[in-house]
Assembly symmetry: C2
């Protein structure tokens, strides 16, 4: 998850208490009766330095003995839940059943991992990404992404519940009071735009007056991981950094792209965004830190 | 758990389809939002030959990585839940939430372990054992047994909900149609009597006309494991096999005791029960099988 790597690079550069991360929850899903929030957990685990870096999800060195045993009871155990990771899902599920909000549980989990920054779900109400795939109908996001490994032609991406969702407590205030806002290198359709589409979020972003920088999730015109290329194509956008930039044109003022996509600069500038060309491939934590530093510097100069 | 060991000894001696095990559920408890049924699981795991024999609960070779990770979120993780064992609790909890009965879930679990015998919870309604301990108030059973390691003087044993509980579907029919009934060597207060106290159970037992044999859980006047001695003393009963026999006098006709308690025979016979003296210590599966064989022979001759 590019966003998590970017955040991990950002963390040493700023006072953690000044960092608020607003996280997509549209790929939350229920497995074996547990409320799983993949993006929230990836952000928390990555910021805490305990995530499985290569795999991109879950906890480092985790085992899968419970999942293996679940195979005795369930036909389908394609969603990978590690034994230690399960503790987070159990805790979250039990707390939500007791009536706590996702915001409160997310805070408790971050605290349990000793994090000082603030991690907020985008909303306490459920919003779910559904992917319409040619010939396969409309799929839940994890079904599409994990079980079917994102195969097939994307015809549409829907956000069920987006109209009714309110921003989680603290989201609008954090945006309004921001000095700088980053849209990290993530899939816009299933990670960034869902947040921006929640009632009041775009307005808060504008009201803040803070500069907004987006980092392209494409490198050399292709996603580092995941089905973003199919999603761009399937929704009528160019499969390119400028294609992504067009999604943020009314929001961001700076758009950061990789050197391999330098030729896109012109098209990006035409959209009214300032194009910044740098190395965006975060192969190591050091590179993530360097990229975050560049973005912060650009934001500072954009004020 | 003596009952589970006894059942494991019994299994090779009879056609599994002819065996119905009715299991106490009064020590069921909720941990981390999961519905845990310790006695049902011990019976299922033991009959399936996958239980941790020495420890007496859980699955052989199980690990505790999730429980360890739960320590990050919860102050108290004294109830031991193995990683593979967790799959059973997750499956049960989810199925119950979907509206399935404990009876149905128990059948599914037994089936998943390839068991052909029938395992029934005593009731689909919750009944809970509460132990009143001098100076500690009234405690939930697992709190008393596991967390406090059964310390302290027992003043009373209560069964919350027993008045409202109905026998699980199949329980009365199984009893009525039985050829022989065994009360295995378990704690009468928290394992056997709760079942007998459910509305209609004693009558079904009598209506069946089947001989009933009980096996004393005491050897040499002491429990092999657990706080039965304190419970007998605390409720005004003799801490002896005849003390236990007195609890079954209106139910059983045969009472099996260990050689070390042979001197109890007379007192037992006085209660109107036939005393059978044999080796009741089930140190090995072979010994459990031998004990089960003796009990079956006594039941056959008692018809």
């Amino acid at each position: 998850m590019g966003a998590a790597r970017f955040l991990r690079g950002l963390l040493p550069l700023i006072e953690p208490r000044n960092l608020t991360v607003i996280v997509n929850t549209t790929d939350d899903e229920s497995f074996f009766g547990l409320h799983v929030s993949p993006d929230l957990d990836t952000v928390t685990y990555t910021l805490a330095g305990v995530s499985e870096r290569k795999r991109g999800w879950g906890l480092q060195g985790d085992t899968f003995r419970c999942l293996d045993a679940l195979g005795r009871y369930y036909d389908e155990t394609w969603f990978q839940l590690g034994d230690r990771d399960l503790a987070t899902h159990l805790f979250r599920t039990e707390a939500l059943r007791r009536g706590r909000t996702l915001t409160a549980v997310t805070r408790d989990i971050a605290k349990a991992f000793g994090l000082d920054c603030r991690i907020l779900p985008m909303s306490d109400q459920p919003v779910r990404t559904r992917i319409e795939v040619r010939g396969a109908g409309t799929l839940d996001f994890q079904d599409y992404l994990v079980r079917r490994r994102a195969r097939g032609e994307v015809r549409a991406i829907r956000l069920a519940g987006i109209g009714k969702a309110r921003p989680a407590p603290g989201v609008l205030k954090a945006l309004r009071e921001s000095d700088a806002i980053v849209l990290p290198p993530s899939n816009p359709f299933v990670s960034i735009l869902p947040i921006l589409k929640i009632r009041g979020v775009k307005r808060a972003l504008r009201d803040s007056g803070a500069p907004v920088a987006a980092v392209s999730p494409l490198i050399g015109g292709a996603p580092v991981k995941g089905p973003l290329d199919r999603m761009l194509a399937g929704t009528g956008h160019a499969v390119s950094s400028s294609g992504v930039a067009s999604l943020y044109r009314d929001i961001a003022s700076v758009f950061v792209i990789d050197r391999r996509d330098a030729a896109e600069s012109r098209a990006i500038e035409k959209l009214g965004l300032r194009a910044v060309v740098t190395d965006t491939y975060m192969k190591t934590p050091a590179r993530a830190r360097k990229l975050a530093g560049t973005v912060l510097a650009e934001l500072a100069s954009a004020k």
